[in-house]
Structures are given as C-alpha cells and as structure tokens.
Amino acid sequence: MQQLPDEQELVARARQGDEEAVALLYETHVDSIFAYLLYRVPSDSVAEDLTSEVFLRMVRGLPGFQDRGLPFRAWLFRVAANLLTDHYRQHGKNPVAPVSEEHESDDTDPFDTVAREDEQFRLRLAIGKLPQDYQQLLLLRFVEGLPHTEITQIMNKSAEALRAMQHRALKALAEQLESLGGAP
C-alpha cells in the first residue's frame, strides 16, 4: 500500500481544515478501506456505506487526532474495524455470503474479468466464514500488506500473538477454500 512520503504534513494540513489535504487523504486510502470492508460484509452497498462512515469519522476526528508516529492508515483501519464491530452487533456476525455486484475494473478481457471476479468471490466467501480476528489479520497482513507493528495497534494484540495467529488463520482459510471446491 502506498504511503505518502509527506503524510504527516498532509495530516497536519487536514487537521487545519485544508480541503485539498482531506481529499488527498481520502483518495489515498479509500480503496484500501473499501477493500478491507468489502471482504467482511456481504454486500457492496454495505461496504460503501461503511466506507463513507469511516471517512466522515475521519473528518470529525481529525481535530483531535494526535500523530504518534504510526501511519495514518492505521487509524483509519481502526475506525473501520470499530465500525464493523458496531455493524456486526446490530446485524449479527453472519458469515459473509458475498453478493456479486458490479465493480469497476481495468480489465478489458472479459474472460480475465470473469476469472478475477470469480477469484474474488471465492476469497470473500472463504474469508467471510473465518472468525473475525482471522479475517482482520489476513486482510490487514496479506491483502493490505501492513506490518505487524501497525496491526498490533489496530487489533490490540502483541506481535507474537499475531504471528501465531496468522498460521492458524492461513490454515483455516485453506480449509475453507478447499471446502468450496477446487484448489485451496
């Protein structure tokens, strides 16, 4: 995931109400947040709603945001994680049964597009059946590529615990993929 080299300055400007800085922060992180949410809720529309709420909370929370040396995205993922928790509490932690909806894609080959959508669908389905902390860890660590140092802060777990958990999570994911048929 790309991190702005001058993110601290950008965040500082955003805290002062600089619209351009806020918009840039949004554009920088919106896809990651949306993808993270999409893997954890059953529909695109819910993921879109939650994505919107994440960034509204970003705007509201910026004045009180204190830079503690962690990438800004860690805060956003934390916001997203808490929103998901709230969502689950209201709607239950039903396994994600993704509803395939239209996505924008750069693919021009229709066969390639179908294959990619199928892969995404299978991964969403498999990940959605995992325990919440497994989902969160796999998405943050391997899909978003966050280091343990950030994930520890987002998930409130030690790096050692995360390292141990990731093996269990990968094993569980492989089992879920296998249960869906085809190669895990």
Partner: protein, 340 residues
C-alpha cells in the same frame, strides 16, 4: 513484510491473497463520498444556542447522495412515570425535590451506573447512525398515582436526525415549548402533560433533535424525583459514548463538553474515537455548561476474541443504549491512542 517463517503451502496462499483482485469503489460512489466529507468539513458542528456549547454537531449530511448511509430509525416508547408529583401532593412546584441537574447520556448496563440510578436524566446518542433500524416498542405499567397523566406511547418516524432523551428540571415553559438544560423542547400543543407540568418539575422527554437544535418531543412524562447516578460518588451525571474531540483536558463525548482533571492519567492515552464511561456533574463555565468528571473509564478497548465489544442496542422498551461486554473486567489500553 516477510519476517515470518511460512511453509510453502502458506506462502502459496499468501501470494494468492496478495494477488486477489482489488475491488474499487464505483466512481459515482467515490465522488459522492468525497463531496460528503468535504461538505462535512465545510459545515462542522451546528451553531450552538444552548448551554452545552458544542453539543451535537448536526452538520446536515448529504443523505441524498448516499441515501443508504445514515438512515436511523428509532421508535421511542414512553412510560409516564407517575403523575406530576406536585399535582399529586397538592403542592406547588417549589415543594418538589430540588432539581439535581442529573443527566445521563446513553445509559449503560454497568452495575455502577444502574445501581441506585433509576432515573438517568439526559440521554443522547449520535451513534450508531450507519444502518437503518426500527426499534420495537412496548408499554410497561406505569406507576399509578391519583393524578397520573395518561401513559402515552408515541413514535417517531425513522429519520436521520439525532435521537435524544432528556430528563431534568423544567426551567421554562412558553406555550408548548419547555426548556430543560437549555434545550428547547417542543411538545404537541394538545399534549396533556402541558396541563399539569410546572417549572421545577422533573420530566423525561424523548424525541428528535432537529437541525436548529430544538427537540421535537415524541414522548414526554414527568418523573417524581432523581437520584444520584452513582451512590458512592457525588456524580449526578452518567455519560457513555465516543470521544469526538480532545483539547487538553477538555474532551467532547457524544457531543457534550467534558472536563477531565488535567493530571488524570487517562489523558495520556485517550484519543478521539475511544469509548469512555464517565460520571460527573454539570457545571457552568461562562455561557457554557461543562460536564466535570468525577470518574472516567476507558472502555472501548475491551477486546474479546479480537473484537471490541461495545455496541449500541435498542432494548424491548425501545430505548437505545450502549452495552459493553467485559465492562468492569479490566479495560484494555489503547497504546495507539487512536480509539475508533
């Protein structure tokens, strides 16, 4: 990133996750959200004309652009808790128990908050607002007194407006508008309670807060008295909610300015987005009222199975409140201090 030892099978799966197709927001949605956050930036907290200072930022949101985002529905049920006590006893408003300025925002299920606190007095919540929801309503027996106002059960259509519950002493009555804690509360002109209520009475109001800061009451009833929120403290106010802003030791929680002791260690870790449970008292500071904290606890970092376990919930009485599993069982610390 690869500072861990993985088996070949794990590495293959990791590579598959990395290569997973990356969904992107539809352009229209992306643009709508961008406009929404810019609008939020330009139109911050609503103008304040009540003593809670920056209470309840009500920036109109671009709900039309994202209609599904913030629909909130809360059907509210009221129980008229007995009659106007002054009427019941034949006394005057001055014979009523002194108003205690007791305010509880978003009552919780924690024992320390519920014990001895039958009548928390102001509840409000802006959270959650991301999902449409209708709460069921039911009636419960009211405390019968000889001049009871007929129990009412009224509902509020689901809207994106803030649902607010206020309990406290009436400080002014002008026609069908009451003032409680500086809130202007509009009651139906024909509402029977208007015939029995007096300044000084403690009432409970549930309704919606419109964009002008006025509460449109859907349920109103008088309550006989108030009690301290927490028996072993001098707190008259209980407030649970998310931290929305921090300015030194002045914290905004659920839209209410809260003053924490400057040397309180919680300030070292407290961050916007954290969920806190606190008790205190409202005190006037100039033209504003600030909730001066007696006790504050960080609760949003309680982690069970990797997930914080605070959630908003509407109970069978149609009353919403926050609930946190593990409250009082040792609160986690947010070393990132980022809350949310």
């Amino acid at each position: 990133m690869m500072d861990d030892q993985f088996t070949p099978e794990e590495l293959e799966l990791i590579e598959r996750l990395r290569a997973a197709p990356r969904p992107q927001l539809r352009s229209a949605v992306r643009d709508a959200i961008r406009q929404q956050i810019i609008h939020e930036l330009r139109v911050p907290a609503a103008p304040v004309q009540r003593p809670f200072g920056n209470l309840l930022p009500l920036a109109p949101r671009m709900a039309a652009a994202l209609a599904a985002v913030l629909a909130v529905g809360l059907l509210v049920l009221a129980i008229i808790q007995g009659a106007n006590q002054s009427t019941a006893t034949g006394g005057t408003p001055t014979t009523l128990p002194a108003p205690t300025n007791q305010v509880a925002v978003v009552p919780t299920e924690t024992p320390e908050l519920s014990a001895g606190s039958s009548t928390p007095t102001v509840s409000e919540s802006r959270w959650p607002s991301s999902t449409p929801e209708l709460a069921s309503s039911m009636t419960e027996p009211t405390q019968a007194t000889d001049t009871s106002t007929p129990p009412l059960m009224e509902t509020v259509p689901a809207t994106a407006e803030t649902i607010i519950v206020v309990e406290g002493p009436v400080t002014d009555i002008v026609n069908n508008t009451l003032t409680i804690y500086g809130y202007q509360i509009e009651v139906e002109p024909q509402h029977p309670i208007l015939a029995v209520i007096d300044i000084g009475d403690t009432v409970r109001v549930e309704g919606t807060l419109d964009s002008t800061g006025q509460v449109l009451a859907s349920v109103i009833g008088n309550i006989p008295s108030t009690e301290l929120v927490s028996g072993d403290t001098e707190a008259t106010v209980s407030l649970d909610g998310p931290v929305e802003a921090i300015d030194d030791n002045l914290v905004t929680v659920n839209g209410i300015p809260v003053q924490i002791e400057p040397d309180d260690p919680i300030l070292d870790t407290l961050e916007v987005g954290d969920f806190v449970s606190l008790q205190g008292n409202f005190e006037g500071t100039g033209s504003n009222i600030v909730l001066v904290v007696v006790n504050v606890t960080l609760v949003n970092n309680v982690i069970i199975n990797g997930e914080p376990v605070c959630w908003y919930h509407v109970d069978a009485m149609g009353m919403g409140h926050w609930h946190c599993d593990g409250m009082g069982m040792g609160m986690g610390d947010d070393s990132m201090g980022m809350g949310e």
